[in-house]
């Protein structure tokens, strides 16, 4: 395991979006003594299978799983991530948005959430990259949103159950918690990432995987 490397893992199906995502990554400040690696998986069968394949390939301690349409706009992102993981050994995963509690229907968007999401109102201010040095203000959450998930330990993604593009994030959050890790979300004066998801999600398979999630993690 390479304790001084960050690996960005991106499943993609759009070359243009990937290129733009990588452009923002190239603009990040890399902490002294660290390197970065980038693994991309084109046209993966499912996001979990893509992530598992990449996870096994990389020996980087710190892995950042993100969507092709996520742009990391905070130049200090990697330094901030290191400050967070170094703060407490029990922190296993970091997200940008998360819910302290998940409701019985397993729908994160219907639960109070913390973190940073860009809205049109927030885009009206000039952007200033934020250096985060007070990890004691971290929010501990039950689940995080999958647009960006950063880990310091490798735990297999449940491609046996979540073989599509939904609920892989909530599932992985549960897998981390079941192994005793904390999942955290940092407070952000301005969001550290912009997720260009178009505001309208493809939810045709959402209910199918929601039921699988409830059966696997919430039925006891």
């Amino acid at each position: 395991m390479n304790n001084h490397q960050f690996c960005f893992i991106i499943c993609y199906n759009d070359d243009f979006y990937l290129e733009e995502c990588l452009l923002y990554i190239s603009n990040l400040i890399i902490p002294d003594g660290f390197t970065i690696d980038i693994l991309t998986i084109k046209d993966a069968k499912s996001i979990t299978s893509g992530y598992n394949e990449a996870m096994k390939t990389s020996d980087a301690k710190f892995k950042i799983y993100l969507h092709q349409d996520v742009f990391i706009v905070n130049k200090y992102f990697l330094i901030n991530l290191l400050n967070i993981f170094n703060y407490n050994v029990h922190i296993g995963m970091v997200g940008m948005v998360g819910a302290p509690k998940i409701n019985d229907s397993a729908i994160m968007w219907a639960s109070p959430r913390i973190g940073g999401i860009f809205t049109r109102e927030l885009m009206e201010k000039p952007y200033i990259s934020e250096l985060y040095e007070t990890p004691e203000t971290l929010g501990i959450v039950s689940v995080i949103d999958g647009h960006l998930m950063a880990t310091c330990v490798d735990i297999p993604w449940r491609e046996d159950l979540f073989d599509g593009w939904d609920f892989y994030d909530l599932s992985q959050s549960m897998e981390f918690r079941e192994r005793g890790y904390n999942i955290v979300v940092p407070p952000q004066h301005q969001p550290w990432c912009l997720h260009d998801d178009g505001n309208i999600l493809n939810l045709y398979n959402y209910n199918h995987y929601r039921k699988i999630f409830i059966k696997e993690y919430m039925s006891s």
């Binding site: 243009f16 742009f71 706009v73 409701n103 968007w109 639960s111 999401i117 045709y204």
Partner: protein, 182 residues
């Protein structure tokens, strides 16, 4: 962050799951018609099929809503304005649905480069691309409910200045007009 109405959301998801093939069938059919209108550069057909699609979507309680088709609908408004005002049409160099969407997405991504702290070389690429398209498509991108963009007035002013330098005076005056309206 805003919370959604839980019961309504679950009901909507269940409907999407149950009627998935039915809804995807409609989307596929209309995408094919729209693709043909783009290939032929027939603005009349383009407008007709999009209007039909969104009428149907309303009748089906927004179950056909996709961010892609909302974006394509925004392009429609820009093309109609371009034609009215005798500007070069945004779709002149594209011939498929995917190519049109890619060019529009590129517009949004280039606009966004102007909003964040990126090296000058990337911003220059953005300025060069944005100078090649009309203010109408930029305005459509800002009005697009699926887009996360900001500082609209400031961007119009910056682009007006850039167009002046490039001697694209009609673009420049239109950007200033748009800036006044924000």
């Amino acid at each position: 962050m805003t919370k959604i109405n839980l019961n309504h959301f679950i009901s909507s998801c269940e409907s999407l799951e149950t009627n998935k093939d039915y809804y995807l069938g409609y989307i596929k059919k209309y995408k094919s018609h729209i693709n043909d209108s783009i290939s032929n550069h027939s603005l009349e057909d383009f407008e007709l099929f999009l209007n039909e699609y969104f009428d149907l979507n309303s009748k089906l309680e927004d179950q056909l809503l996709t961010s892609e088709l909302l974006k394509i609908n925004q392009i429609k408004y820009a093309l109609l304005n371009e034609r009215t005002h005798d500007f070069s049409l945004f779709w002149n160099d594209v011939y498929t649905y995917d190519e049109l969407l890619e060019k529009y997405n590129k517009t949004t991504l280039m606009l966004r480069r102007l909003l964040f702290d990126l090296p000058d070389v990337f911003k220059k690429q953005a300025y060069d691309f944005l100078a090649s398209i009309s203010p109408f498509i930029i305005n459509a991108a800002f009005d697009d409910p699926t887009n996360i963009l900001g500082m609209e007035k400031q961007i119009y002013i910056i682009l007006a200045k850039d167009c002046l330098i490039r001697q694209k005076y009609d673009h420049s005056s239109l950007y200033l007009e748009l800036a006044k309206r924000v």
